[in-house]
Amino acid sequence: MADIKVAAYICKGCGLGERLDTDALVKVAQKDGKVPLAKSHDFLCNAEGVAMIRNDIANEGVTHIMIGACSRRAKTEAFYFPENAVARANLREGVIWIRPDTDEARETTQEMAEDYIRMGCAEVKAMTAPGGNPVTGSSKTLLVVGGGVTGMTTAIEASKTGYPVVLVEKTGALGGWASKLYKRVPVHEPYKSPADTGVGELVSQVLGDSNIKVYLNATIAKTDGAPGRFIVDIATESGATHTEDIGAIVQASGFTLYDMNKLPELGGGKSPNVVDQAGLEALAIAAAAGDGVIRRPSDGQPVKSVVFVQCAGQRDPTGTHLAYCSGYCCNTSIKQAMYFKDANPAVDTTIIYTDLRTPGNGEDFYRSAQEKGVNFTKGKVVEVVPNGATSTVKFHDLILGDTSAAMADVDLVVLATGQVPNSGVNIEVPAAPAEAGTVEVKPISILNLTYRQGPDVPQLKQGFTDSHFICFPYETRRTGIYTAGPVRRPMDIAQAREDATGAALKAIQALENAELGRAAHPRSGDLSFPKVRLEGCTQCKRCTVECPFGAIDEDEKRFPVVNESRCRRCGTCMGACPVRVISFENYSINTVGAQIKAVDIPDEFAEKPRILILACENDAYPALDMAGMNRIEYSAYVRTIPIRCLGSLNTIWITDALNAGYDGVMLMGCKSGDEYQCHFVKGSELGRTRLSKIDDTLKTLNLESERVRDLEVAITDIKRLPEMINKYAAELVAVGPSPFKGF
C-alpha cells in the first residue's frame, strides 16, 4: 500500500454537537482510529466545511477521508471526493436520532458514536479509491432481436436518440404478429371500433432510417463479450455470417400463441371451424380481400353465428395449460366480434367469458361492443363438439347456475388461447434426455451467449424472461441485455410499444456506462469492480456458478474471468469465495472485517451487549435511516454495517464477530424466491443458502443458534425494524452474554 494519509472529520451540526461529546470523538479518532489528522467542524457539509476537506486533500496530502456526520445516504453531493477513499460514520440517523435525549442515555449514545468513529477509521484504511473498470468497449450500436412491433419501436426510438441500430429478424419480413392482424384494438378516442394496425407505417419508418441496419431471415449465431463490447455473429439464410460490434442488446423475441391442438375438448384441431385468434385474423384478412364476408373454413359458407371462448387453455389451476391470464385476449375477442357486427349486424356473436378484463379505455371498447349487439355471456366453456359444418358449445352458465347450457349450430368457434413467450432455452433446467418414442422439441436459443451460465437470458416464471418487476422492469440478469414486449410478460401492442421505448433508453444507459467503466443499475455509476487475486484461487468455481448476472466466465484452466462490464457490483462472488480472494477497491472482506474488529466490546460484567447488524444497503439500511428520521428509538447496543447485498455476506464476518465477543448478529436482507425484492435478484437467496450452514459454525464455537438472526426486510419496514431489533436485544439478554468476551 502506497502512502496513505487518513483524515477524520467530525461534524457538530444537526444537533450532533449538543448530543455528543465531539472533542472526545476527535480523540477517539486519533487514539483508537490512529488517524494523523482529526478535526471537528460546526457545519461540515456547508461550503466552508467542504473547503476545509478539499484544502487538506490539496495541501496536507490527505488520501483517505473518514466523515463522522450523517448517513452515507445523505449529503452525497457535498461529500463527493472521487479521487479519494471515503468512509462515513453514521452519527446522525444511526445514533442521535434513534436515541432518547436524556441524561441516562447519554453514556450509551456516546459509546455508540465512538464505536462508529472507530469503525469508520478502520474501514477507510482498508479501502482504496475506485478507479473504474479498465476493460471497456465503446460500441454505441444497439442490437434489437426481433422485428415485430416491439423490436421496430425499440429501433426507431433508439435511432431517434441518435444511436445506430442493428435489427435482426428471423422471418423474411418485418412486422411480426401485428402484421398478421386485420385491425387492432383502438388506442385513440372514441375507442369504439377496431383501428388500422399501423404496422406498415412502422415498417417503412424502419426501412427508411439509414441509422437502422436490418437483417431479415437472420438469427443470432453467437453473442460474445460484454456491454460496450459485444461481438455478435448474425447468421443469414444464405449461410453467410456477419459480425457486428454491439454496445447493448434488446431482446424483443415476442410470443407464440398457445397451441390450440392441446385443447381437443374445446375442439382445437378437431374441426376447421374451430380456430384460434390468429386463425380468425387470417379469415378476416381473406374476407377483406374479397366481398367482406367472413366464411366458414370448412365449406366457405358465410358465418351466421360465432362463439368466442375466452381463457381457452389459460388461467388453468390444474397445471395442464397456462396458469396465467394473457391480458389482451378479452379486447381482442371484442375486436374480432366487431369484425362480424360491423359488416353485418345480423350475425350472432357471443363471447363466453369468466371475467371480462378490459382495463383502461378497453372499457369503452367493451361498451361499444355491447351497443353493437355483441352478446356477452358469463360462463365457463366445458366442451366444443364439432358436428359436420357446425359445432355445439357446451358451457356452465355462471350467472344462471346452469351447468348444462349449450349453444347449438354455431358456424365458427374462436379460442382465445393466450401468449407463450419466445424466451429461448431455459438455462436453469438441465436438458432432459428424450424419452423413447417421443419427439424431442428442443427450444432454440435466441441469443446464443457464450456465457458460462448458458446461452440465453434466465427465466423467472412461466417461461417469461426475468425482469425486476418491482424496481427495474426491463432489466434481465444479463447486464446490457434488456427484454421488452411479450417475451417479458403478456401484453398488447400499446403496452409493447411503451415497453420498447423504455428498454431502448435503458440499453442506451447501459452502453454509455459501460464505456466509462461504470456499473449499470442498481449501483449505477459505481467505479469499483471485483478483483480476483488469482494466485490464491482454488478454482472451486463458486463465483462463476453463483454470479447472478453471469459476469464471470472460466478460462481453460478454470480460473475465473471477470467480465467487468457485465458485473453489477453486488459482491455475491466476494461472499461466495471460500478463500476470500475476491474484493472491490472500496468494499472487501477487510473493509467490513476491520469494522467488526474495531468495535469496543465491553466485558461481560458491564451488562452492555453488542449486536452486529449487517444490513442490505438497498432496503434495510434506508429503512433504518428512515426509522432515524422518524425518531423511532432502538437499542444502543447495535452496531450497523451496510453491505452491498446479503449475497456479498461472507460467513467469515459472522465467525469473526462471534469470536470477538459480540452477543448476537442480525442479518437484514431482502425477500428472496419467486417474489423476490432483492436488487440483485438472486443475491439475498444465495446469501441465505450460505447462511443455512451457519448452525454448524455456531456448533463448533459451542454457541446458541439464537446468536445469529436472519431477517427478511423491506424498505417499508420503518416501524417494524426497530421493534425487531429491540425484541432481539431482549432475547439476547435471556440467552446471556457471549462466552467469548474478553479474549
Binding site: 361498451r367 356477452f376 355471456t377 344462471l400
Partner: protein, 210 residues
C-alpha cells in the same frame, strides 16, 4: 293465435331482440355487464319473492329463456326506489326496465295472475278510473278479499282495531262503501281515458305487428 304465440313465432330464437323492440327501455338489457350492483343495492334484498335479481333477469333474456322470464314474479317486486338506477355503473334504467318487462308480460297474458303487486295495480286502476277518485275503503277491502271470501273475513278481522281507530279519528267513512265521492266531470274522465287507451293500443299493436 294468441298475442303471445304470435310474437313468440315472430322472434323465434331471439328473445333479446323481442325485449329490445317490445319492452319500454328494453334496448338497455344488452348493456348490462353483470356486476350485480343492482342486486346489492336493492332494499327488498331478495326476500323469498325475488326469484331472479335484475342482472340475472337480463342474463336470462340474453340466454333466450323467454317462458321463465315472462312468467316470473321477480320484476313485479320492484318498489321503484331507484337505488339501482343511481348506482348502476353502466347507467341502465333498471327500475324502468323492470316495469317494462312486467307490463309486457301482463300484455301477453303471461304474468302470474294472483301476484300481489299485479293484482293490486289492476285493482287500483279500476278503482280510481271508475269515479275519477280513489275509494280507499273499497280498495283495501278488494285487497282483503283477493284470496277468497274466508280469507277476506280473516284479513278484515285482523285489521279490525285499525279500522275502528280510523273511523273514530274520522279518517275512514263507512258510507264510502255505498257510493263514495266522485270527480265532477265523470263523463269527461271516461272519454279522456278511452282516448288514451285507444292511442296506447294502436301504438302497441303496431309494435307487435312490427
Amino acid at each position: 293465435m294468441s298475442a303471445n304465440t304470435a310474437v313468440a313465432e315472430k322472434y323465434r330464437n331471439n328473445f333479446l331482440k323481442e325485449i329490445e323492440e317490445q319492452v319500454e327501455m328494453g334496448d338497455w338489457v344488452k348493456m348490462c355487464m353483470q356486476c350485480g350492483v343492482c342486486s346489492g343495492s336493492c332494499p327488498t334484498n331478495f326476500q323469498s319473492a325475488w326469484e331472479h335479481p335484475p342482472q340475472e333477469l337480463f342474463m336470462m333474456i340474453r340466454a333466450g329463456k323467454r317462458e321463465e322470464v315472462l312468467t316470473s314474479s321477480s320484476m313485479w317486486n320492484c318498489t321503484s326506489c331507484y337505488n339501482c338506477i343511481v348506482r348502476c355503473p353502466r347507467k341502465l334504467p333498471i327500475t324502468h326496465i323492470m316495469h317494462g318487462i312486467a307490463e309486457y308480460a301482463h300484455r301477453l297474458g303471461m304474468a302470474p295472475k294472483m301476484q300481489p303487486t299485479r293484482f293490486f295495480s289492476g285493482l287500483f286502476w279500476k278503482n280510481c278510473t271508475n269515479t275519477g277518485r280513489v275509494n280507499e275503503l273499497k280498495l283495501s277491502m278488494g285487497l282483503y278479499f283477493k284470496d277468497g271470501f274466508v280469507q277476506g273475513i280473516k284479513n278484515g278481522m285482523a285489521m279490525q282495531a285499525v279500522a275502528l281507530g280510523l273511523v273514530k279519528a274520522k279518517r275512514l267513512n263507512v258510507m264510502e262503501l255505498f257510493s263514495g265521492h266522485k270527480c265532477k266531470d265523470q263523463k269527461g274522465i271516461q272519454a279522456m281515458l278511452k282516448k288514451a287507451y285507444e292511442i296506447e293500443r294502436s301504438r302497441k299493436a303496431a309494435k307487435m305487428a312490427g
